[in-house]
Amino acid sequence: MGKITGFMEYEREKQPYRPVEERVKDWKQVMQPWPVEPLKVQAARCMDCGIPFCHQGCPLGNMIPDWNDLVYRDQWADAIKRLHATNNFPEFTGTLCPAPCEGSCVLGINEDPVSIKAVELSIIDKAFENGWIKPEIPEKKTGKKVGIIGSGPAGMAAAQQLARAGHDVTLFERSDRIGGLMRYGIPEFKMEKRRLDRRMEQMEAEGVTFKPNSHIGVDIDANDLKKEFDALILSGGASARRDLPIPGRELKGVYQAMEYLPQSNRVCMGDTIPEEELINAKDKHVIVIGGGDTGADCIGTAHRQGAASVTSLEIMPKPPKERAQDNPWPQWPFIYRTASAHEEGGDRVYSVQTKKFHGDEDGNLTDLELTKVEIQRTGGRMMFNDVPKSKKMLKADLVFLAMGFTGAEKAGLVEQLGVDLNERTNVWHENWQTNVEGVFVAGDMQHGQSLIVWAIAEGRSAAAAVDKFLMGSTDLPSPV
């Protein structure tokens, strides 16, 4: 609380974005850094609450009021220390997190919440700028070996925590580059990949060994790995995608978002994609099914590829502008939001369900058939009923399914280790340890698809559990 009355004096400002007409022409990050002075004003809006709901709302338990205060006071070096104390990768969350903290910000009860995320990003950017981010190399090594399978945010966080605790950590990734969904799921314009590379450098110096192209359970037997390491952490994500098994699904032009986005990312990174595999939206009518973040990423990508039109479809009704009665503060506000990709164009259609894909004789997608739906709640269950006579056809050259994920992949790793799943097809665990001793789990693999911030938090907690398992006690923090 740099300024006691800051919240009464200052308004929330919007995060500066590059102008739409400029940014859709390239792949560079849309979000722009805040100049220091206006950012300090934003930090001054923080009320340093007796109960900082933001700090609770953040899975990592970020000490938000404290670094808001430090930023207001221009104490950036202390701010990054405080931020890093709870968050290994503030630049990931600072760019990508939907910021549940802001949803639970107390000021948000009757005003716009504090721009927490922007402050967070500025702190870490400033820290990198000033060269304050250095490897934290442990003084003593424990001689214990930990293998971490899956290099998304959960795996990376766990790896960094354990390496700093003195363990020998190897981080396995089935893909050719480290980073999981952050590498291939997130478009460059949302988070530049250099941020990832920069962290990898630090982690390498701290003693983490990266093993990309290592598909455990396929290329390498998981049990061999288990023998080689004193502990394993499974952090392979919830990569089983939800599909849409309706007539026409097999048509050419219907893709999973997770086929489309990684490829586009590869292109950005300079990889060459064979012409026949290339999915390019240029001059095409694109429909994205699923109104979430992945959907928005598809929209932004399609815009940049020069799509003729982009429409996104969502089965749920359009969210209200303000919190609904049954969605009180400090719960995550289910309200109508506009991502950067939405600003860039396209239509958003709500309360519709895709019934059928139509194609031409060559098996190419031409149209999409949908109906309006109404929600009917019976007991706890939600049913979507077609609205009579609401059938509609949309022109479609490309459809991307961005409908979420259904849980951990069973084949390979999970089966080989004999790890149990729970009823939601996520990996079962107790205090991060699966039913197999010495095998731990973190991130979406046990949570189901979720936010990066959860993944980092769980990676940290799993690291603490592993440290305790290996050493008998631990001082590593366990945020969740």
């Binding site: 609450c49 007796g50 109960i51 000490m63 104490q75 104390a85 009860i109 009757n110 925590q161 700093r164």
Partner: protein
């Protein structure tokens, strides 16, 4: 019950308090007569209202009379039983209380006789004392001893004084032997006195019973030239014959707050005492202080010791109760030297005291430095001196009165019957001052720290290891940010809000410092807290440290000590002490480190080693030891500093060496005010918190303290600690650090009893808890953070989370989850969600936070059907909301609560800020915005007859959970016009609530205020709000005897708008302890069923309420939870006026955001009531009444597996006191307020009928006595009832009284009444005057000069809001205190005049005392300053002094003076008016600065053409 009960349940006999009325009559020339005895007994009868009765009307708390040994009488009656008495000088006599069992009685007599022989004297005989106990009540009878008088003949070898000393030795030996014996009735044995000079009759009697009880007293042969009487008001009703006063030399009214420390220090001093007078007999006198005696008894013990070993009585008095000298503006150096020297011999016995003393020859009285007890005297033309707590206790013809005066703070008044004159204060003191060259002695020996050469080696800042050491000593980010930064920046202790809902130290999962296990005690009811800020002249933080000399033989070297300006010392000062190289000073540093790995055993052993080192240091002639925890490393850490110092302190008390060495602490641990308070309280003399200083250095380095130099930061920090200490001392009523040192005014909570008994001896710890092992474990946790075996993360301080919730910090009951659930449930009316909320709060298995969290219900085998349990409507009547003022919370929030509570039949509380009369009328929809409970707090804001008349309940706030013992301040910026209007003050001007009620300095004063308020509205219930601490049960019993209808016992954790953080956290106890103790003690006393017991303090769920009921509460208050229901999100910034949800702010920008609705609050209470019903069904209770006090339905968690909580023992809380036959565990009877016997009911109201009914003019003439108290108030109430705030036209009812009026004359009298008193009056005249007129002048045929004599008592016009007062004579202390609207003229005032005044006009045409205008934020005073020295006596903190220049002022003063002449025939005023030109320039106008500025700003605004309202709003900007 033959004897007072021992400790049982939560009752602790050491918490007994008493107060009283006292008086004496003496003939100045020593003429003996029986009349003096008779008169003294009359005084007793006229002071009955100052004593009390217990559960029986005919059992008093005790009275007594001390007279000269009635030789004539004894000679005669002894002859009748064949005892031949020699000359009066040659025998001693004593009254002996003996066991009732004849054998035991005989045994005692045998011991007595044997010792008389052994001491070389002879027994002359025993006389059975005739008694008649037929009038006394059963309780008193139960404890009644048998009575014999003993007569002891002097051995011819001795002279009379030596014989008196011998009698003293005999008495002490007999006492020691009998009390140390195995006799079952040994406690009955007692000697009221044993002397050849004086004799005492006393017992557990009322003022009217003593004479019938001891028919001796009626015998005309009983003659004395002096008689000292005392009427006791005890907080309990247990038989205690020997606790009646007078003791051998004194009768005491008041309370010694530091008595524990004083007694400890005395004990430590004994070994150094040597006396030529006693020689080898000296040993026989020890222990001087009788363990288990009352404070007055112990005081008497020491005074007797000092006197018998050679000091004249008044000298002993000056040593023990010195006046406030250090800050005295005008005291000469010699006198200061006298006091300063004696302060090195003995610390003051600090606390309110009006003390009368006599040795049979001189008789005198003294008032403590604060002058908080009333004492008035008359001297008559025929040489009688009559002194008493009140005037009017003895009828004296006005023309016989020569002088009327009062005792002044710190001054002695004494009659020497030998010399046959009054010896005044100056003369008495001068004699002692001249005795020795004290100034020289001090100059040569007492070494101010600044005079010691500065050594080379001073510790600096070690940044490299700072973090590690901070971790080892448990520093948190919060310590830095919330506690230390504001201290260093502003020199002020930080403020917090909304109470505390965090875990008690013993229930916390975190490692907590030992200090956290100690709760500060505070004064309530029996003794007033002080205002250390506004009344700074009585406080002193300077302290001298070092070895003491022989108390009995003062010498120059006795003051060879170091004088510190503050008990907190810098590194430089410590280095000076360490390296001091001067004769008589030698310092040894002793490390207090231990090996962490060895745990509790290692710590224990290390402590023993420290003791050995300290002992040998003393042996080697060192004068100081520094206990130091410097030098911690990966293996070693410091013994908790508090444990080390308290351990050494008590070790040295035990071996009698404590006063041979000065104890200094050098520690990294202490950093908050409370830490220093506990350290000092357990005996350390000076503390060097080096790590705190280094931390400040690093905070400057990293920008946490911008633009600050280290030296300045350290100085500010020390200043803040000292301010905080002053406040902590003041809340206990202690003025000097020297007396606070070692006074142990703490209760331990969560510490093992054996551990406490060993290291913190004589500290209460009633629920057990952790011992050495766990203390070491907690140390270990901190040490581990600092020195981890394996570093896995960037080292960083922990957050803490005590003050602001954090996930890794301390557990709080209100956290994001529970706040959300509570708001959601009550806003949407979902009981299921509410149950989720309560289950989160109640389920403290995982996180323990409260004592109640540890309890379990023993449900009935078979639940009763829910529909048989009484309905929620019945239950909700027992609910109230907490006292939150309009001012601390917004109007919206305040009215929302009121509407909701009125709808459900509960009660809301105004808080202390008054209430807008517009709210007394129902709204169109039937809602009533009136608060049913009207609070009366120390500020008395807006307390008028109309306010009180519109109450269902009137609540006296004695203390507040969040900051018991403290006052408050509403900063000017929050005094919005609408707040000022309701409070009767000026917008934008600070409002101060004093720490004490200035009309409650002791328990009988509370009885008086209760009486006043009952008179102001006879239908209302009168509440007394207390806060839980040890002894609250005893206080509650006393309050019940004061006829309070309701007693509220609050927990320490309750919310608040603003409180120093140390008070928020460290003062008071959870209500579980307070309510259980109150229930137990009330039941034991047979008082429970005449009062309603209420509790509050973080009540949040139905389970909380049920537990409170089972422990004894029948009504329940909620504050924080309803605030949360209305939108509060525990921002904890109430004090900043920035509440972002519009609850605790006045800022219109923010109150706009308030979204609370009465319906939400209704939902909350309905849900709570419903939950209660569910529990009741399971417990098998159909009504709440059935449930009250049924503690056996509670159990403690069977298996406590918490590492700390495992040692807790709740059996004391769950103790069920046995009912007396016919009694109940809950209220069934009404208190007898006795209003029907009052002058108002019997005379004034009937005589005023025409005025009341038809507004006709009425004239009444009546006599008045001091026993007629609160005259005019019921009449006023009757006017208000009919005519509202407006009252009747001025002078409609004119009443002329003749005589001495009792206390609270004209209290709360509204417009239309004019009360003229020809005579004089006691304290509290015109209290709460709200429109009426009061005129007092001496009887027309008096012979004394009115303007030179006292006319009216202390604390006049307290909280008065409008009206006039004209007083032809001098008023006592605190004239016009917190006046907010009355115009008054008086001809002289005592100390603290116009204190805290916020409005009105005072014209003073006579002498003024010291500290005038302290805390005066409004109104004006015009003071005639003939000697031109007024400024010295004025506290200019908030005011400016001006000349009278404006015509407006001239007119104002002249008008008031003309009125004064007209009403009182004042010749003084007449003369001034006649010679106005000469006098105008001699008047000083006292004008509060902020007030003046605001008035000027408003005026400017209006001149600019703004409306009044706009001008006021704009004045906010100055």
């Amino acid at each position: 019950m033959k004897q007072p009960p021992k400790q049982q349940g939560l009752y602790d006999p050491t918490t007994e308090h008493d107060a009283c009325g006292l008086g004496f009559v003496a003939h100045m020339k020593g003429q003996k007569s029986h009349k003096i005895v008779d008169d003294a007994l009359t005084i007793l009868r006229n002071l009955i209202h100052r004593g009390a009765c217990g559960c029986e009307e005919n059992t008093g708390d005790g009275v007594g009379i001390l007279i000269q040994k009635p030789h004539k009488f004894f000679k005669r009656v002894c002859a009748e039983i064949n005892i031949e008495l020699p000359e009066s000088d040659s025998y001693g006599a004593g009254m002996v209380f003996l066991p009732t069992d004849p054998e035991q009685s005989k045994h005692c007599q045998d011991i007595f006789e044997r010792i008389i022989n052994e001491e070389g004297q002879s027994l002359l005989g025993w006389r059975d004392v005739p008694t008649d106990d037929s009038l006394i009540g059963p309780t008193a009878k139960e404890g009644e001893p048998t009575f014999k008088q003993i007569f002891i003949g002097k051995n011819d070898e001795l002279d009379a004084p030596a014989f008196d000393r011998k009698l003293y030795v005999i008495r002490k030996r007999v006492e020691n032997e009998i009390w140390g014996s195995e006799l079952s009735e040994r406690e009955l044995f007692y000697l009221t006195s044993l002397s050849y000079r004086t004799f005492v009759y006393k017992g557990m009697l009322t003022g009217s019973q003593i004479e019938p009880m001891f028919p001796d007293l009626g015998d005309p042969d009983i003659e004395s030239a002096l008689a000292l009487v005392h009427q006791r008001f005890s907080t309990n009703t247990f038989p205690a014959w020997k606790l009646a006063h007078p003791f051998r030399y004194v009768a005491h009214n008041g309370e010694i707050n530091t008595v524990r420390g004083n007694a400890n220090w005395m004990r430590a001093r004994e070994s150094l005492c040597e006396s030529e007078l006693f020689g080898d007999d000296l040993e026989k006198l020890f222990p001087i202080c009788i363990e288990g005696g009352s404070d007055s008894a112990v005081f008497d013990n020491v005074m007797e010791f000092l006197h018998m070993s050679g000091r004249p009585l008044p000298h002993a008095v000056l040593m023990m109760i010195p006046e406030a000298w250090s800050g005295h503006e005008t005291m000469d150096d010699e006198r200061k030297a006298f006091y300063e020297y004696h302060a090195t011999l003995m610390e003051p016995w600090d606390g309110p005291a009006s003390l009368s003393f006599t040795d049979g020859e001189v008789i005198g009285a003294v008032l403590d430095r604060n002058g908080l007890r009333p004492s008035r005297y008359y001297v008559t033309h025929d040489d009688f001196v009559i002194m008493a707590s009140e005037v009017g206790v003895l009828e004296i013809a006005p023309e016989n009165v020569k002088i009327k005066d009062r005792l002044h703070p710190g001054r002695i008044f004494m009659v020497d019957t030998k010399q046959g004159r009054i010896i005044n204060d100056e003369e008495i003191k001068q004699e002692f001052i001249d005795e020795h060259p004290y100034g020289d002695w001090l100059k040569k020996n007492l070494m101010p720290i600044e005079n010691i050469p500065t050594p080379k080696n001073i510790h600096g800042l070690d940044t490299d290891t700072l973090l590690q050491r901070q971790q080892a000593f448990g520093y948190t980010h919060e310590d830095l940010k919330i506690l230390m930064a504001p201290m260093a920046a502003n020199g002020m202790e930080p403020t917090g809000a909304m109470g505390t809902d965090a875990a008690l130290a013993v229930l916390s999962d975190r490692s907590r410092l030992l200090y956290d296990y100690f709760k500060q005690l505070f004064a309530q009811v029996t003794n007033p807290p002080l205002d250390g800020i506004r009344e700074e002249l009585v406080t002193q933080v300077a302290i001298t440290i070092g070895p003491e000399g022989n108390l009995l033989k003062p010498a120059a070297e006795s003051c060879r000590r170091i004088k510190l300006n503050s008990p907190v010392i810098t590194n430089e000062e410590l280095a000076k002490i360490r390296d001091v190289n001067l004769p008589g000073f030698k310092t040894k540093t002793i490390p207090i480190l231990y090996s962490v790995a060895e745990g509790g055993a290692g710590m224990d052993k290390a402590l023993e080693d420290v003791y050995v080192e300290v002992d040998s240091a003393i042996k080697d002639g060192y004068s100081y030891v520094i206990l130091s925890d410097r030098g911690i490393d990966e293996n070693k850490t410091g013994i908790p500093a508090l444990l080390a110092t308290a351990g050494v302190h008590h070790h040295l008390i035990r071996n009698g060496k404590r006063t041979q060495i000065g104890l200094v602490l050098e520690s990294g641990e202490p950093r908050e005010v409370h830490h220093f308070a506990v350290l000092l309280g357990y005996g350390v003399g000076a503390v060097n918190p080096y790590l705190a200083f280094e931390t400040l250095g690093s905070m400057i380095g990293n920008g946490r303290l911008p633009e600050m130099e280290h030296q300045k930061a350290v100085a500010n920090f020390i200043k803040a600690v000292n301010k905080g200490l002053t406040k902590i001392m003041a809340k206990m009523g202690i003025s000097t650090v020297q007396s606070y040192c070692g006074a142990q005014v703490f209760e331990a909570i969560g510490l093992e009893k054996a551990f406490v008994d060993k290291y913190f001896t004589w500290t209460a710890s009633r629920i057990g808890g952790i011992g050495m092992k766990i203390v070491a474990e907690e140390m270990n946790m901190r040490h581990h953070n600092a020195f981890p075996e394996r570093e896995v993360k960037e080292p960083e301080l922990e957050w803490g989370g005590e003050y602001q919730w954090r996930r890794d910090g301390e557990y709080h009951l209100f956290n994001p989850d529970t706040v959300f659930k509570l708001q959601h449930a009550t806003r949407t009316g979902q009981f299921e969600v509410f149950k989720e909320y309560t289950s989160r709060v109640d389920d403290q298995n995982e996180h323990r936070a409260t004592l109640r969290g540890m309890f379990e219900f023993k449900f009935a085998d078979k639940a009763i059907p829910l529909d048989e349990v009484e309905p929620i409507e019945n239950i909700m009547k027992r609910f109230s909301t907490g006292a939150m003022s309009y001012g601390s919370i917004s109007g919206q929030a305040h009215e929302t609560l009121a509407i909701a509570m009125n709808r459900i039949g509960g009660k809301s509380n105004t808080g202390e800020g008054g209430e807008n009369p517009a709210r007394f009328v129902a709204d169109a929809n039937g809602d009533l915005r009136r608060s049913a409970i009207k609070q009366v707090a120390s500020g008395r804001f807006g307390v008028t007859s109309n306010y009180l008349t519109n109450a269902d309940d009137i609540q006296i706030k004695m203390a507040q959970g969040a900051k018991p013992g403290e006052g408050g301040q509403l900063p000017g910026s929050k005094v919005y016009p609408w707040i000022a209007e309701v409070r009767g003050s000026t917008p934008w001007v600070d409002l101060i609530s004093p720490p004490p009620h200035h009309d409650i300095y002791s328990i009988e004063d509370l009885a008086q205020l209760i009486h006043d308020l009952k008179n102001s509205n006879p239908k209302a219930r009168i509440h007394t709000k207390l806060v839980a601490e040890i002894g609250v049960g005893t206080v509650a019993a006393g309050v019940a005897k004061c006829h309070s209808d309701v007693i509220l016992v609050s927990g320490y954790d309750g919310g608040t708008g603003a409180s120093p953080i140390s008070s928020l956290k460290h003062a008071g106890l959870p209500w579980e302890l307070g309510i259980a103790e109150s229930q137990q003690v009330l039941v034991m006393n047979g008082l429970r069923d005449r009062i309603v017991l209420q509790t509050d303090g973080q009540l949040k769920t139905g389970r909380d309420v049920v537990i409170a009921a089972l422990l004894g509460a029948e009504e329940f208050g909620f504050a924080t939870a309803p605030l949360v229901v209305m939108g509060c999100i525990m921002m904890r910034v109430c004090h900043l006026n920035t509440c972002p949800v519009g609850v605790a702010t006045q800022n219109p920008e923010l109150t706009r955001k308030f979204t609370g609705q009465p319906e939400f609050v209704e939902n909350f209470f309905k849900f709570i009531a419903e939950e209660i019903r569910e529990y009741m069904a399971q417990l098998g209770f159909r009504t709440i009444n059935e449930m009250i006090g049924q503690v056996d339905k509670l159990d403690t968690n069977k298996a406590v597996d918490h590492w700390k909580a495992a040692g807790l023992d709740f059996s004391n809380i769950l103790y069920k006191a046995e009912l007396r036959p016919g009694d109940k565990y809950y209220q069934v009877k009404e208190q007898d307020h006795g209003l029907e016997r009052s002058l108002d009911v019997t005379k004034l109201v009937p005589l005023s009928k025409a005025a009341l009914e038809n507004k006709e003019k009425v004239d009444i003439i009546l006599p008045v006595l001091n026993t007629d108290r609160t005259v005019g108030t019921i009449l006023g109430h009757n006017i208000t009832k009919r005519y509202g705030a407006e009252g009747l036209p001025d002078d409609t009812i004119n009443i002329h009284f003749n005589g001495s009026a009792g206390m609270s004359f004209g209290a709360f009298v509204p417009s239309g009444i004019t009360m003229t008193l020809e005579g004089d009056s006691n304290d509290y005249l015109g209290k709460g005057l709200c429109g009426g007129k009061i005129i007092v002048y001496p009887p027309r045929h008096s012979t004394f000069i009115p303007e030179e004599n006292i006319l009216v008592g202390n604390v006049l016009l307290y909280g008065a809001t409008s009206g006039e007062a004209y007083l032809r004579g001098i008023a006592g202390e605190r004239f016009c205190v917190r006046n907010s609207g009355v115009s008054a003229v008086v001809e002289g005032v005592g100390d603290h005049g116009c204190e805290y005044m916020t409005g009105g006009v005072a014209v003073i045409i006579g002498k003024t005392g010291r500290n005038f205008a302290a805390g005066m934020s409004g109104g004006e005073a015009y003071v005639l300053d003939e000697d031109g020295d007024f400024e010295i006596r004025c506290n200019t903190g908030m005011i400016g002094l001006e000349k009278i220049e404006e015509q407006e002022d001239v007119d104002k003063v002249k008008t008031l003076l003309s009125n004064h002449v007209q009403y009182t025939q004042s010749t003084v005023a007449e003369n001034i008016l006649k010679n106005w030109k000469d006098y105008q320039g001699k008047f000083v106008k006292v004008m509060p600065t902020a007030y003046k500025n605001v008035l000027a700003a408003i005026k400017r605004g209006k001149e600019k053409g703004l409306t009044e309202e706009e001008a006021i709003m704009e004045a906010a900007n100055g």
